[in-house]
Symmetry: C2
Subunit: 428 residues, 2 copies
């Protein structure tokens, strides 16, 4: 894996990975990622305590560069959403591959990024609460730290203005525009006028740098396009009022499902102010076989840039687990549960099967599927007579990387021979 800066290299050589974590190999004391890589744990040879979370280095790197190229082909900037992985090593990879900055969702997440060398964070959320503001204020003492948060109400603007004025600090914000029936964000011109008026009172403290949207709550392309067009109309109003004080202004949108549409519409927007388009997908790095696979199928079908790239994103994360029991002819119980993989957007999908004693993964039969997950177990539907035994390993593709990453403090990075070559730490 790529490293970035002296901090990561030092961390990698410190024995900070406690043996009291799940999904690791033989350890009786804390070890460093370097020491672990030197052990060459073999996933296929049962060196790991399963369940374990596995990242495939080749696929990760493929996805890393695929998205960077896609975004650049629109002349846009990539600020990958770091909340997905909360893994400083992966953030460093993304920055090294050309990302403009990292998106985060909270003050805590921003602090984690900063502590690991990230110097530009777009916090795609409101900054609320004294201690959260204190966290950001402390980071802003570093003049090299470029930080933006969202603002969508006069009330919040007033709170931010008072707090950061008292600190003698300036705060960069993006004005958030929101979808009707959606999440956060200004809904109409009345709310916009009220917010701009409040911002104008705090213009020595709050620096309005651009406009932000999150379109990912809708699953309907027409709704998304209509919303983005409305947002551009509102951006024109904001520009016309002279409220923007950054050049280029930032025009930011795009979760992992509609980045093509946002890239297309925002990069061709005609605003009376130079604009920098910043897109924020997060799930592309590992991709999945659920919601984001479906989104990608649409993108590859409709988007000329994606079609021209001749490859697509690949699922780069799997959860490996053991068959614990085959108590009924059509049911096996697997040692993986809601504690190990996301389950809110489709259950994990059996991808590989490694019979006990074999070192050869084969494709899991297409008719195998999970029907239920409990905290620590999954129910696998099989056909009577299938060859499946206690101690067999199954690798599951997942749906929704965000809620899979946050179940693991350490993920194993393996090479094409299923040898652990690095360990990725998360900070949830």
């Amino acid at each position: 894996m790529n490293k970035q800066g002296p901090c990561e290299e030092v961390c990698d050589s410190l024995p900070t990975i406690s043996h009291l974590n799940k999904g690791l190999g033989p350890m009786d004391r804390p070890m460093s990622a370097e020491q672990i890589a030197a052990e060459r744990w073999n996933l296929l040879a049962d060196d790991l305590s399963l369940p374990a979370a596995v990242l495939y280095e080749d696929k990760l790197k493929h996805n890393l560069h695929w998205m960077q190229r896609f975004i650049e082909s629109y002349g846009a900037r990539l600020a990958p959403h770091g909340k997905t992985t909360m893994a400083p090593k992966l953030l460093a990879m993304q920055l090294q591959a050309g990302a403009w900055g990292i998106t985060m969702a909270t003050a805590h997440q921003t602090r984690v990024a900063y502590a690991h060398g990230v110097r530009r964070v777009l916090m795609a959320n409101q900054l609320v609460g004294r201690e959260n503001m204190e966290t950001i204020a402390a980071l802003l003492r570093d003049p090299e730290f470029d930080y933006f948060c969202l603002v969508d109400s006069a009330e919040n603007a007033n709170q931010l203005g008072r707090f950061f004025q008292a600190k003698g600090l300036r705060l960069q914000v993006l004005l958030e525009l929101g979808m009707q029936d959606g999440r956060t964000g200004v809904r109409n011109t009345a709310q916009l006028a009220e917010l701009l008026e409040e911002l104008s009172r705090w213009k020595e403290v709050i620096v309005l740098c651009g406009v932000e949207v999150y379109e990912g709550i809708s699953q309907d392309e027409d709704v998304v396009r209509g919303f983005l067009q409305w947002a551009l109309d509102m951006a024109k109003i904001i520009v016309a009022r002279g409220a923007i004080t950054r050049t280029p202004m930032i025009l930011s949108g795009a979760g992992s499902a509609w980045f093509d549409v946002v890239a297309e519409l925002f990069s061709s927007a005609q605003l009376e102010h130079p604009a920098e388009v910043v897109l924020r997908p997060g799930c592309y790095l590992t991709h999945d076989v659920g919601a984001y696979k479906s989104a990608l199928l649409r993108i590859v079908e409709n988007n000329p840039v994606a079609r021209g790239m001749k490859s697509t994103l690949q699922p780069a994360m799997q959860i490996w687990a053991y068959v614990h029991s085959v108590p009924e002819p059509t049911k096996a119980i697997v040692g993986m549960g809601k504690r190990d993989a996301a389950f809110d957007s489709g259950l994990p999908t059996p991808a590989l099967h490694v019979p006990q004693g074999s070192a050869l993964p084969c494709a899991a039969p297409a008719h195998w599927r999970l029907t239920r997950m409990m905290d620590q177990h999954a129910y696998l539907e099989i056909a009577a007579g299938d060859s499946i035994h206690v101690g067999d390993k199954i690798a599951f593709d997942i749906s929704h990387p965000c809620l899979t990453f946050d179940k693991w403090r350490y993920l194993m990075v393996v090479d094409e021979d299923y040898i652990v070559i690095d360990v990725v730490e998360t900070f949830f």
Copy 2:
């Protein structure tokens, strides 16, 4: 909070709590739990970075003793399921209050418990896979460590026999009986005969200590009672074959929903072998306002012991979060998401409301309710005209403690004045 043994006291005074975790107060370097308690962070005065997970000391202790008394009144033993909290401080509290041992779900969890001083673990799961067996084998080198795992197949019995024989170790197991259409466990007399035959081959290595069931997959009392009765009939067969080598044998069941029924049926079982009934609820310590509240209502209505106790379990955990935006008259957006609270068994419920600038929590209006959660946000349905503002704090009761605990590395223990008096670390 109670402490147990020198280990916990030493840990509490080491500055091992990193400031890079969510839900903490002002920190710019790692601190110890003792140092944090000395700071007297005030939840109501916005000292914490929200969202934060909060445990109420008085309610925790109430629940702790309530369940211990309930189980003891049946002459049964309590082995609280530690997978719920994975918090060594809470396990120590449970042991100090009289628990017989701790239940765990995996080899990793067992190692965490052992490393924090727990010396009796009932692992309510099959032990599968070389590295998981290695983990347990290393712990079994300590003759003071009393460990049981489940076995429900001849295949697994054979694997365990071969592994532990090669190590020169003996392994204590409970034979798991399972519900039709259920999870793990022997379903019928043919499977039982096959398993007992395999166990008899390994009797120098595998010590059959009793019988275990998990009835919690059913929500129907008649089904549960029928299953428990069948399990007792099977236990009689096992006893009659002379397969049990521990006196008293262990007869274990009960998740957090049916502990009353299991206590009643198992403690009055007539077996031709002395038996020790070991019950394994886990969620009682924090309780909830969802599935386990419903279960408790049934218990209090039906169970004479529970009725006689004159108090019931109380919800002892809440997630506190800020209102981020009130973008529509009937909708507020709260800074708490699927990363912060369980959502698989009912969404969190608004319990307390602390208006911005106030230090007085009041009951949240009864008509407030969450309608949706995303990774880092929740949609709160309100009524037009409600007094709710950006920066207000809301405390949410939760449903399903297990999947709430595992979203937090540190939980704040507060006293009745909402002052942080301890920090509970988890090991997921």
